[in-house]
């Protein structure tokens, strides 16, 4: 399993960076920004779920923390927007570390892990919906200040480039994990925890580290969301919608691969737009489609798009080998 190399990642990112130069349409740019945002959040999930095999149903906990910390830092403590962004990522990572420390020390896995992450996200949502710090039921509005220093821009293109850069960084980070000892240990734990232990891997520490990295990446998405939309409340920040999209995109795109979350985010968001085109803007229908897609993918293409492509490539290679008269490799 060679995977995609860093030069290729940078090439793809560079190619994507030219898109704002090709279109001035705000609609298209907005779509791309949201897609990349989901791709970032999904990549975070992918580190823990795809590579680590621990399926979290509550990644909203990290997304929301990133969003709220960024917003609160700016609005309540007057911190510079960029610094607040960084603190938001840190906050998310901290929450990830806490939840990770609690759950992995207790040895929770599988469905129980999914359940407990769901519960944590719900607790945070309820807290955020009543606490004055997070604006309770009203939420938090980030004051309009269209200057680059305030991480706000007149046009969408800078937002696009920033989220693209973040996604690019996450792609490189994940690729580096893939090529590192930590990555080898992480997938070993995913495949067979006992066997990994016997080979000197400390599963608790590995899972904990994965959770923290995962949370940080997802929190970056949340912080960006807050800056882009300038409004969050408990349902947006900690709602189940983001937990679902965070796992749907990697599963559709291919869990445990570098590009899976990006591909998946593209497909999922495109489907969402398509649904809206066909049926109008009524809330709920896009999620229905997402749920259906999830079931279909699990049923028919458990390795997502990446898996399908790999299978196709395998078929193609075999056909080619046969055509060239060589024996099956």
């Amino acid at each position: 399993m060679k995977g995609i190399t860093v030069p290729w990642i940078l090439t793809i990112v560079a190619a994507l960076a030219t898109l704002p130069l090709l279109t001035a349409s705000n609609v298209v740019l907005n779509f791309l920004i949201v897609t990349l945002l989901i791709a970032l959040v999904a990549q975070g999930w992918n580190v823990l779920g795809g590579y680590g095999g621990q399926y979290s149903f509550g990644h909203a906990a990290f997304f929301g923390t990133g969003a709220y910390v960024t917003a609160i830092m700016q609005m309540r403590y007057g911190v510079n927007a960029w610094a607040a962004f960084a603190v938001g990522i840190g906050g998310g990572a901290l929450v990830g570390a806490i939840i990770g420390a609690l759950t992995f020390r207790s040895g929770l896995r599988g469905s129980y892990f999914a359940l407990v992450t769901l519960a944590f996200a719900e607790v945070l949502r309820i807290l955020a919906s009543v606490a004055p710090l997070t604006g309770a039921g009203v939420g938090i509005l980030i004051a309009l200040d269209l200057r680059p220093q305030a991480f706000q821009f007149q046009s969408r293109a800078p937002f696009y480039w920033i989220i693209l850069a973040l996604v690019g960084v996450s792609l490189v980070v994940v690729r580096m994990i893939e090529q590192s000892r930590f990555g080898a240990w992480l997938v070993a734990v995913r495949e067979n925890e006992d066997a990994a232990k016997a080979l000197g891997v400390n599963p608790t520490r590995v899972k904990f580290a994965a959770m923290t990295v995962s949370a940080a990446i997802t929190a970056a998405g949340g912080a960006f969301y807050a800056q882009y939309y300038l409004f969050i409340d408990s349902g947006i920040a900690y709602g189940s919608w983001i937990s679902v999209e965070a796992l749907l995109a990697p599963i559709v795109g291919g869990v445990g691969t570098v590009l899976g979350p990006l591909l998946g985010a593209l497909v999922v968001k495109a489907l969402g737009e398509l649904t809206k085109l066909v049926t109008g803007d009524t809330p709920g229908l896009d999620l229905v489609v997402y749920g259906g897609v999830l079931i279909l993918i699990v049923a028919f293409a458990p390795n997502g798009i990446t898996g399908l492509l790999t299978n196709l490539r395998g078929h193609f290679m075999r056909l080619r080998a046969r055509a060239l008269g060589r024996s099956d490799g």
Partner: protein
């Protein structure tokens, strides 16, 4: 300074007085019975199929909507609607397990997780799309009747719910102990391979179990309708509570669910009393998290 201290003390004293505590506890018990019914379905499904049914909440919302529309469109009193809806939801559950969850998951734990989650998302959002997020209620004459038992006023629908929940639990227990299907269910729960080898149709038993679990939801929904409201998200709230109960009472245990349900009902009632409505909800979740974290992983560490 001293005055406020005494005021606080008096406040605490009042809060802890029996006049407030007893009704809270009793009402908690009554609500707890309905929780227990929801949890029963969950624990049954877990006990036999060894899966955590993430779709349970959405199915409960669907059941509530069904009961609501049975009243609105067919004029059926919820308690009568239960007679109609129970078999309908049994069949729904049977079909879902047999034709959707079972085949899609290929038996892998992680996949089952995702498929039930997908179902939950589909069901809940279909309800949202079809009926919007508005909260609806039914207005029944007897909804506000109360019984005065001296120490407290108890809401009649709630007392009925309590009684019916106990009866359903008993019926389930009888099914499991006395009928052939029930024995087959217990066999599959204990040792799936062995059950297959002696000729039990495991696919069918799985589906029956899921159907029974869903049927419990239908009954619970009808019991709840007179005193509660309906919107697509209600199910979720109930289901995390149900998870807590199941985990507390022991996965797969009918008595555990009953007792756990009532315990949780009381805790919720009391924390709602002292912390307010929304914050009270946290009490449940926190308890849930604590139970999951500190029960020895031997009981439920890895295998779902």
């Amino acid at each position: 300074m001293r005055a406020s201290f005494y005021a606080a003390l008096a406040f605490c004293g009042r809060m802890l007085s029996p006049i407030i505590l007893v009704p809270a506890v009793l009402n908690g018990l009554l609500t707890g019975a309905v929780y227990a019914l929801v949890a029963l379905g969950l624990t049954l499904i877990y006990g036999v199929l060894h899966i955590i049914n993430f779709a349970h909440g959405a199915l409960f919302s669907a059941a509530l909507f069904a009961a609501f529309f049975a009243y609105r469109l067919l004029g059926l009193d919820p308690y009568i609607a239960a007679i109609l809806l129970t078999p309908v939801f049994f069949l729904l559950g049977y079909g879902l397990q047999r034709f959707v969850i079972g085949p899609a998951a290929h038996g892998e734990d992680r996949n089952i997780l995702l498929v039930t989650l997908g179902l939950a998302v589909v069901i809940e959002n279909t309800l949202l799309y079809a009926f919007r997020a508005d909260t609806r209620t039914v207005n029944l004459d007897y909804a506000f009747n109360v019984i005065d038992i001296g120490v407290a006023f108890l809401s009649v629908p709630r007392v009925i719910a309590f009684g019916v929940a106990l009866v359903v639990a008993l019926v389930l227990w009888l099914i499991l102990t006395l009928t052939d299907t029930g024995k087959a269910m217990r066999a599959v729960a204990k040792e799936k391979l062995g059950a297959e080898l002696v000729g039990i149709d495991v696919v069918h038993i799985y589906a029956v179990t899921f159907g029974l679990g869903t049927a419990c939801l239908a009954i619970a929904a009808c019991l709840l309708l007179p005193t509660y409201y309906v919107n697509p998200h209600v199910g979720n709230a109930f289901v995390l509570v149900a998870f807590t109960i199941v985990v507390l009472g022991g996965m797969g245990s009918v008595t555990g669910s009953l007792l756990g349900g009532m315990f949780v009902g009381v805790v919720e009632s009391l924390s709602g009393l002292y912390l307010g409505e929304s914050l009270g909800q946290i009490g449940i979740f926190v308890m849930f998290i604590l139970v999951l974290l500190f029960r020895p992983s031997g009981l439920f560490g890895e295998r779902a």
